[in-house]
């Protein structure tokens, strides 16, 4: 089976993408596999200025999942382009994950990446907390989401723009439609669910930031439901994620309508999991008689 998938203007060797924030800059995993064998690598979220991130502790394990409140620690775009990007082997398909606190800054970041040959697409993280009063996020308000997408599209040149949706909303389709109407070439979902974990003895949160983002198998049912809903509401390619830990899980997302998937927390369980998955997905698909992803995608009978 040829695992190739076409996501609008973006062609991937296979549907397995590593999720932002769980695969570093790719470099961390070079000793565990061939980066160019993976469908694409979503880089750790990058902002204009370097960010130190949140104080420790930043992560906590939960039943079938984990919470993180890294706070988007990153070296900033300038240092990334100078000190990281050149070392990522050519052949790897890279997606930059953009984070900013205003539409203008999002636009500026998109402008910078628009001229980088090694970057195949831009993923816009609109699920970042604390951008206005009350902790509402760009990804929780259709107007703000549209403003960000508009600003990015204006500066992104020929780079396909993927908008990454937050699951912490009443109706994910509303934000999905707003993003597509504002020009999103693709959507990816879900980002983490907002959650908490506390220690009854110290009477403290297990995260210095108190609240964090839940990822891992625990959230897979929510992710599948949202991908299914969004796939029926919009007409752009969808990248599904949330709790994938097996080839079977990958096919579940494709079955409900995803063109490709992202692998997050599973990369922590074993650093070569993404590499292994590419092959396992092919074997499973063939065993089911799937000849091309186009034939299988979205064929859930309801």
């Amino acid at each position: 089976m040829d695992q190739k998938v076409q996501l609008g203007p973006l062609t991937l060797k296979n549907p397995v993408i590593t999720a932002s924030g769980t695969f570093g800059y790719g470099l961390e995993f070079m000793r565990y596999g061939d980066l160019s064998a993976i469908g694409a690598i979503c880089l750790k979220g990058i902002s204009l200025a370097p960010r130190a991130g949140n104080p420790m502790p930043r992560i906590a394990e939960t039943p079938c999942g984990m919470l993180n409140a890294i706070g988007l620690q990153n070296v900033g775009v300038e240092k990334f382009l100078k000190e990281k990007l050149p070392y990522i082997p050519a052949g790897a398909t890279l997606i930059a994950n953009l984070y900013a606190q205003t539409p203008e800054d999002f636009g500026e970041l998109a402008g910078i990446f628009s001229t980088e040959d090694k970057i195949a697409a831009l993923e816009v993280n609109i699920s970042c907390p604390n951008v206005r009063e009350g902790g509402v996020q760009f990804g929780q308000d259709p107007h703000m989401a549209a403003a960000v997408v508009g600003a990015v599209k204006k500066r992104s040149g020929t780079k396909p723009v993927i908008v990454k949706l937050s699951p912490n909303v009443t109706d994910v389709r509303v934000i999905a439609k707003a993003a597509v109407d504002a020009g999103a070439d693709m959507l990816s979902l879900i980002n983490t669910l907002s959650g908490m974990s506390v220690d009854i003895r110290t009477r403290r949160s297990r995260l210095a930031n108190v609240v964090g983002g839940l990822s891992g198998p625990a959230i897979k049912p929510v992710a599948l439901r949202m991908v299914h809903q969004v796939a029926q509401a919009v007409n752009v390619p969808i990248i599904g994620m949330g709790g994938i830990t097996s080839a079977e899980d990958v096919l579940e997302f494709i079955l409900v309508g995803a063109h490709a998937v992202q692998i997050g927390t599973y990369n922590f369980m074993r650093p070569d999991n993404a590499f292994r998955l590419v092959e396992e997905v092919r074997v499973l698909a063939e065993s089911l008689g799937i000849e091309s992803w186009d034939d299988y995608r979205g064929t859930l009978q309801v």
């Binding site: 565990y32 984990m66 990369n267 369980m269 650093p271």
Partner: protein, 258 residues
Amino acid sequence: MIDSQTPCRDLEVLSCRPGSDPSLIDLVLSAPGWTCKPGQFVMIRPAHWGVELVWPRPFSVCDVSDKGLRIIFQTVGRGTRKLAELEPGQKVTVWGPLGRWFRIDEARPNLILAGGVGIAPFVMLARRERTDNLSMLFGHRLDLEHYPYDEIAARIKSEAMQQKTPADIAQFETVLSERIKALAGVGQVLACGPEPMLKVVRKYCLLHGTDGQVSLENRMGCGVGACLGCVCKTTAGDYVQSCVHGPVFDVRDIELGV
């Protein structure tokens, strides 16, 4: 530091035995095909674990040879309690060796400060050829026979202090302070143990101007520098991954809180 020939592999459990105290487990896995330096660690995740616990667990390499990979761990939570149930023949996924190690100063005295199961990385250190400039001070809660203390004491000058009461702990802190002071300008300390002990060690190193290295045991999600969950604050104000830039740090390079 990174050897591209040592990716992740499935090793077989050769033995998994509680020591004389059931909360301390001596685990031996089949030989991984690599060696490492004292203070380096591995990430471990049994192949048969489901997904209830999503993280692997980090452990110092206690010893490694063509006979096997040895780890000594204490059961403190859900993960270590499950690891303690491993049986010979089961497969465990291991990646490593990871991180930075204790750097010995060959020219000067090196005093090992080990606390509890923090003694683990020093077992392989004590096996090195030259041991004349090494000595150890070991603080422990359980009785001495529960730890691999004798293996080390057979090769290097060692001394142990048990802490059972708050007074014992205060006494241990006093001795730590004296030993660290005595090495100021003439030697260095290498410390591994519970975080409160490492804080004390760092405090006295800075106070007396003694060179020192400490091995941190921050919570780790991946062990390879990707999750940014294990970071340590440097004196420069940055957060660096302790799985890559540590776990062994120079006391002068990092902050530890009080």
